[in-house]
């Protein structure tokens, strides 16, 4: 889960417009991050898994192996944007959705266990690809709890927005 500065949330229409502006005419790849065992922390994975039903070649989650997936995407010869979807502590109301540019993410260090979004987005940038993070404010992230109503609603909205955009460009 990322820690981000305090900013206002985005409406569904704003989200769509912002994502379309960032992606230009290129295709959208979704990479959902998080831990589904920790309630709202798994929001990104839920989004990615739902989108995979419609876009199996364009939606991946933490469970697919993040680094390998990103490496494959970075080597594709096409105009594309990777949309990371993750729970992010925005210090806003639970369920708030906010688009954050990768350059604004704290470049957390690599550990033995994982490679941070900062490195992956830099790698994508080096390969001429764009990336952005859709953050969802979690309400609770304790182990074994259910996803909160607010975050479930935000997950649904994010799926809806991404599905709409991806249908118009990824399937053409």
């Amino acid at each position: 889960m990322h820690k981000l500065r305090n900013t206002s949330g985005d409406t569904k229409e704003n989200l769509r417009k912002q994502l379309e502006a960032i992606a230009g005419d290129g295709k959208i790849y979704v990479l959902g991050l998080g831990n589904t065992d920790r309630a709202d922390d798994g929001a990104g994975v839920l989004v990615a898994e739902a989108l995979r039903e419609h876009f199996p070649s364009y939606s991946y989650s933490e469970h697919d192996g993040v680094e390998g997936t990103l490496l494959d995407i970075s080597e594709r010869d096409e105009d594309l944007t990777v949309v990371f979807v993750d729970a992010g502590d925005l210090r806003l109301a639970p369920g708030t959705i906010r688009i954050v540019e990768c350059k604004d993410i704290r470049s957390t260090e690599i550990t033995t266990h994982r490679v941070p979004v900062g490195l992956m987005s830099s790698l994508l940038s080096k390969s001429g690809k764009k990336s952005v993070v859709v953050c969802i404010q979690p309400k609770r992230t304790k182990f074994g709890r259910d996803v909160s109503r607010e975050v479930a609603c935000a997950v649904g909205q994010t799926i809806s927005v991404l599905q709409e955009i991806m249908a118009s460009r990824n399937l053409s």
Partner: protein
Amino acid sequence: MRALNVEALTRVEGDGGITVTLDGKRVKSVTLDVHEGPRLIEQLVKGMTPADDLNVVPRVCAICTLSHRYAALRALEKAIGIRPPEKAQLTRELMMLGENVESHSLHTFLLALPDCLGYPSAIAMLNDYADDVKRALRLKKFGNHVMAATSGRIVHGENPILGGFGKYPTKKALEEIKLKSHELVPDAVRAVELFASLEYPTYSEADMVFMSVNAPNKQYGFAGESILISNGKEVNVEDYKKLTSERVVSHSFAKRSMYQDKPFTVGANARLVNMGKRLDGQAADLFKEHYSDRWLKNPLMNNLAQAIEMVWSLEHMPELVDKITSLENPPIEQPTREDGAGTGAVEAPRGTLYHHYEIKKGLIDVSDIITPTAQNLDDIERHMRLTAERMLAEEKGDDEIRLGLEMVARAYDPCISCATHLVTLKRI
């Protein structure tokens, strides 16, 4: 008096820090502080069946998950009288090679290399070494793939079970591994070239004692029934407590280990010191070319050792695949007794890992897990102290000393998360 702190030791797994207390030009103390809370895994599995234990203990760590599973399997199968079929043993060896490549690729290229090349992180390294960052991710992805193909999942795969495998990898999956492993050897060789070309600081150098498993049939490998010590001795794994002599220290949640009252080293450098002459293929050539007496005293050589080991792991996969595919899927072997004890020792990427179990009436009565990082902690502190003393004597600045200490600690590829489950709490 001043204290030089590296409060959060980055690019290692888990919550740890280094504290060096200096008194003028004298180093008063050097401690690698482990702040991670104890996990009490050994107590948690007490009363469980061996099969249930296998679902719990790999959760100690998400990177050495298969090492923990393999060590537990070896110990438990010994305890309840299961002799795993040859195909299961070979497939377990393959999964260990995958884990080795996955872990070493991340540590060498992305965690250790930035230190050695003077970059604050792999992200900063991207401008000049983008291809090497991609190599790391490519190797890591392949290691993950081998782990998933053999164990069922990238992390915490459940396929390796008592007496065999729930499901063996398909011939197609195995052939893909064979092909891809061959393709990736040059990426691992590049890691060797990079680490062999570096100038290694000498501040931490001192005679070291190395321990590793003794792989069977005088071959190189990641599991065995005895432990080789670089002083020439060999000890049965059932006597592991004589080698580790655990104790508790006040500044750390992780237990410490000593051998004959002295720190010792486990890890890739220990394996190559003890079994390097058994390597074959290009890995053997690289070892012969780059091995020197410095390996016996400089912990930073562990980075180069990991790179060579990565080459061996990739080169060894096709041979293993051929052996596995030549065998029919065997039935799962069943326990032959309800009571017994056994110790399993395997080489996790970062060193020797012990699991010991005592079973009564089919349930776990005693469990003991000793991780590689817990064994290395005293050695890390010893080499950090030498580094601090020698750098102070050369009047190096605080930032330089801090980096020197971090490089030593990181070279051991410590996994602090794993090391902290080892404290036993006693209530009186």
